[in-house]
Symmetry: C2
Subunit: 305 residues, 2 copies
């Protein structure tokens, strides 16, 4: 089954202690799509400006991402500039220029209005809701959000969450959304808002997941070289959705499959952080992904007595 | 086989958002011993003052901990007072009174100088070295340390580490000891200092371990109620050593066994943080420990396809 993602496509400028990149293609929808495209067909709905260059376009195009929903509109492409220090968990935003993203009104083209899987990357919850109404009910709807919307549009976010199956956010967002410092209690509160499954991204510490019947937690891979964490969370979501879409078949999306999908999310995030920008997601082979997946399973394995 | 631990026995005063306790028995050797005592015989070498009361003594005694190495000396027992906020990962030390701990010179009584397993809790590395010289070479020597010694006595610490098999410290200590922000690289540097195995404690995010041949990482259990993290790291070390001592038999302490021991360390730490002080380590049954161990294994389990 195919995946439809709605979100930002941007130009990022990144500084880390290990180097820098200027105006490289980024944005949540980009990382998500590139990660998911290793598993299944991905359609992206996003807007870029007149300045969005051929090189950036080729990055998406050569990965086989379907671009019929990528609108080119008058104005400049969304730009983000950020800096990381040695503690790569903390980032400093140096500049944000919304450009065409400020007036982004996602329109899902006719041909892709029956998506199997839909992921609403971090955009205004009003737009997330609007996208859900443009398509036939997908098999699974996932969503991301951030503190800005949790604080600024709580009612609109609640309306979106009521129709979402799977919410993927980070620790501090989960705690703020629930108004509860304990993560397990916070997960209970959030799941009563709508999403049957909550996945909490914990950066270099992996992910924690709250299913209807159980808890699941995994560490992140321990990597000798981490140069740029930009896009790790969106690559994670792309890995989860790509894997689910490719492997769910006609059966239920059960906990067993979800655990494997989350592991694949961690695998895709690990490729992202080892290179600048989206570089780590390009030119991956099926073998390299499978090898790292096996490595990830082995990392936490504890034998029975 | 039995475990010998050398470290502090103290009176702790603890404030957390969930309550407080005044002058309850604590200290690294106490938490370690109470955790390890559920698996094997534990001998403790420590010093307390004339003010160390019967009630505190009974906590150790009724847990079957061997106290022939617990010296009562003139002066006052080590006291620590601390406060935690909602982010239980950060603690604020309000007061420290070293008392008799200031002049602590550990003496291992004659009868316990052939320990199977030796754990040197966080004390001056000069004293840690001295203890190693008082005993016959144990099957396994473990050690903890802290930034205070890493910065203040680097040469003395290096001499101790050269004879240690297993070092158990937290993230920031590992990074500082190695002078390297990347944990995997830091582990390589530390293992070249002596310890074949490094275990890095990551608080609510579990533990990462670096063996000669492989990496191992586990999340911590996701708990609905965490009231006091005091002693979690020492309970973890006690669980690891207690489990190893009880299960190593005559065979090698291989990676398979070590993984299970680290999981048991996480289990014992989880009991500690759910109650104040040492309360969570008392009155545990074998069944409750086994049940939580099974829960811990299930937490991160990913099925093969």
């Amino acid at each position: 089954m195919s995946v439809l993602v709605v979100g930002s496509v941007a130009y990022d400028s990144i500084e880390t202690p290990f180097g820098s990149r200027d105006e490289v293609v980024g944005g949540a929808a980009t990382y998500f799509s590139l990660a998911a495209s290793h598993f299944t067909d991905v359609h992206v709905v996003a807007a870029v400006g007149e300045d969005f260059g051929d090189e950036a376009m080729r990055v998406l195009d050569r990965s086989g991402i379907h671009l019929e929903g990528l609108e080119r509109v008058p104005g400049k492409t969304f730009r983000w500039k950020g800096r990381y220090h040695y503690d790569l968990n903390e980032r400093e935003t140096l500049d944000t220029q919304l450009g065409v993203f400020e007036r982004f009104e996602p329109r899902v083209p006719e041909g892709i209005r029956i998506p199997g899987f839909l992921f609403l990357a971090n955009i205004d919850p009003v737009l997330q809701y609007d996208v859900m109404k443009q398509v036939e009910r997908p098999r699974l709807i996932g969503c991301d959000t951030m503190n800005f919307w949790i604080e600024g549009k709580p009612k609109e976010l609640a309306r979106t969450l009521a129709e979402v199956d799977l919410l993927i956010i980070n620790d501090s967002e989960a705690r703020e959304l629930a108004g509860e410092p304990n993560l397990v209690k916070a997960a209970g509160i959030i799941r009563r808002m709508g999403p049957r499954t909550l996945i909490v991204k914990r950066g270099e510490f992996g992910a924690a997941s709250f299913f209807p019947e159980a808890l699941f937690a995994v560490p992140a891979l321990l990597l000798e070289s981490v140069v740029d964490p930009t896009g790790a969370g969106d690559s994670f979501a792309g890995g989860v959705f790509g894997y689910l879409a490719a492997n769910a078949g006609d059966g239920a999306i059960d906990e067993r499959l979800m655990r494997r999908a989350i592991a694949m999310g961690c695998v895709m995030a690990s490729f992202t952080v080892q290179s600048f920008g989206v570089e780590g997601l390009l030119d991956l082979t099926e073998d390299r992904i499978a090898e790292r997946f096996a490595q990830f399973r082995a990392l936490s394995h504890i034998e029975a007595e």
